[in-house]
Amino acid sequence: MRHEVRFSGFGGQGIILSAVILGRAAALYDDKHVVQTQVYGPEARGGASMSAVIIDDEPILYPKVRDPDTYVIMSQQGFEKYGSNPRKDAVMLLDSDLVHDRPSCPWVGIAATGVAKKELGREIVANIIMLGALSSATPVISGKALEKAILDSVPKGTEELNLKAMKRGQELGSAGGSS
């Protein structure tokens, strides 16, 4: 099964890291072929950021995502630039606190930034909440593989916080999200 996943948001949210974690989970722990790419500007923070992952059972030749079946969108600008024209059967996870528009395809709203701030005390883990939701709301990645890849990727001392964020995301994702 092939999946093309596109992440978008603004610089500083961990958009590229999200794709790296997803790619690592699929490549190392779900034993798939994976290519991860990104588009970013020279700004350190705040510019529109996009990253993408292709997951396939076969070797991946053309490396760029062109027709995503899955989206994770974390800003209004990211939605406008990279999420406004999805194919009909795509699934879009969006941060319902930061994205105001809604797509024409099926979507799941996850209040990731709000939950990260209010429940977990750290806005910075909003991307991990989105990844958690991705693992429960879509068939893209298994929860087990994701957990291992998160532990591989986050700084020492933040494992517990990040796993909490992942689990909260999985709950929100399997509940079908909110509007």
């Binding site: 994976v34 991860q36 030749l61 490396p63």
Partner: protein
């Protein structure tokens, strides 16, 4: 793993013990990774230099102590290295430069991919010379070709270039790191032989400083002792012709390539990131009558390989520049050669190349 980091790991696997560099997007991860790894490896040295001119000077100096030395850069940094690249050529200093190509000219597009330095790497420093340039198209090739670059640098006593691009350098995919890589060090200078007396292959043995031999190193035209001799036309002629021919004469022997569908009528000649699109079109979508020649060593250009496609009606050359290697292909064949130029930072799509095949069909 990312292409840039795979390149750094390839260098370490090949025994690189000196890195002198100055960070610049999109090559920064190479220096960053070396800075993290090298202090933990005994006998290794990482120096962040004050700029790219000094970086190039530093790796030349390190090479003359016998170390395998490397730098990495992009865009304007590569331009700054040009003078000392010529110095490395003239002094026959083995060293490796990684250039993660980005959009130019000038500061251009720091975070976007390009292949606009393919002529600069060949001709960018002043005077006549030749170099070796390798082009990876995957994370695995970033590792493998960087390791290989050190062997070529040592064997031919020349700067060798890993001409990657942002697309490949910043892409992440699976990498298999072998238990060991082949390491071929330079020929040592035989007893009684002068330090710039060439062997039968045109390459002199190497006696780095500290190995008990007297060696004079200069960028001036020099005799076999290494002493300046700048007004003797025959001396200069012989020296520079040897610097060129030691590499050009080996071009078919060192060629590193993949050929698919020798019977193809429309043949892509490709290197670097566009190889991925070509493979999608030929290997996966199996567009009829197409084949390809992937070059992992672009310079010296192995023109004999173009004859391996006897039924070819047109060559198609996709590049992330306005047409560089397409001219090199064109000067060796009598059939149409069609450029597919794409600049701006995005890789060719499969549709771009399928369209080019249609154009080729309609014009031949």
């Amino acid at each position: 793993m990312q292409g840039n980091i795979a390149s750094a790991e390839g260098a370490l696997a090949a025994g690189c013990t000196f890195f002198g560099g100055y960070p610049i997007t999109p090559s920064t991860e190479v220096a960053e990774h070396m800075a993290a790894r090298m202090p933990k490896i005994k006998g290794s040295c990482f120096i962040q230099m004050e700029d790219e001119i000094a970086s190039m000077a530093a790796i030349i100096g390190a090479a003359w102590t016998g170390a395998r030395s490397m730098t990495a850069t992009s865009g304007p940094g590569f331009s700054l290295m040009m003078e000392n690249i010529g110095y490395a050529v003239m002094t026959e200093t083995p060293c490796v430069l990684v250039n993660i190509q980005r959009g130019g000219p000038s500061t251009g597009q720091p975070t976007m991919g390009a292949q606009g330095d393919m002529m600069q790497v060949r001709f960018g420093s002043h005077g006549d010379y030749s170099i070796i340039a390798l082009c990876p198209s995957s994370v695995q090739e970033c590792f493998d070709l960087t390791a290989k670059a050190f062997n070529l640098a040592d064997r031919f006593r020349t700067p060798v270039f890993l001409m990657a691009d942002e697309v490949i350098g910043h892409m992440r995919e699976k990498l298999e790191i072998p238990d060991s890589v082949e390491i071929v060090r330079p020929k040592t200078l035989p007893e009684g032989m002068l330090p710039f007396t060439p062997g039968p292959d045109g390459v002199p043995g190497f006696a780095p400083f500290g190995t008990g031999r007297y060696t004079h190193v200069t960028g001036l035209t020099h005799d076999e002792r290494g002493y300046p001799d700048t007004t003797n036309p025959a001396r200069h002629d012989a020296l520079v012709r040897r610097l060129v021919s030691k590499i050009e004469d080996a071009r078919h022997e060192i060629a590193d390539y993949t050929i698919v569908n020798e019977d193809a009528e429309y043949v892509f000649v490709c290197y670097g990131a566009p190889v991925r699109t070509v493979k999608e079109v030929v290997d996966k979508r199996k567009v009829p009558k197409t084949g390809y020649l992937q070059l992992r060593i672009v310079w010296p250009f192995p023109e004999e390989l173009l004859k391996r496609f006897p039924k070819c009606r047109a060559f198609i050359v996709p590049e992330m520049n306005l047409g560089m290697i397409v001219r090199e292909v064109g000067r060796h064949v009598k059939i149409p050669v069609i450029p597919v130029s794409r600049i701006g930072g995005e890789l060719h799509t499969p549709e771009d190349l399928i369209e080019a095949v249609k154009i080729a069909e309609s014009t031949t």
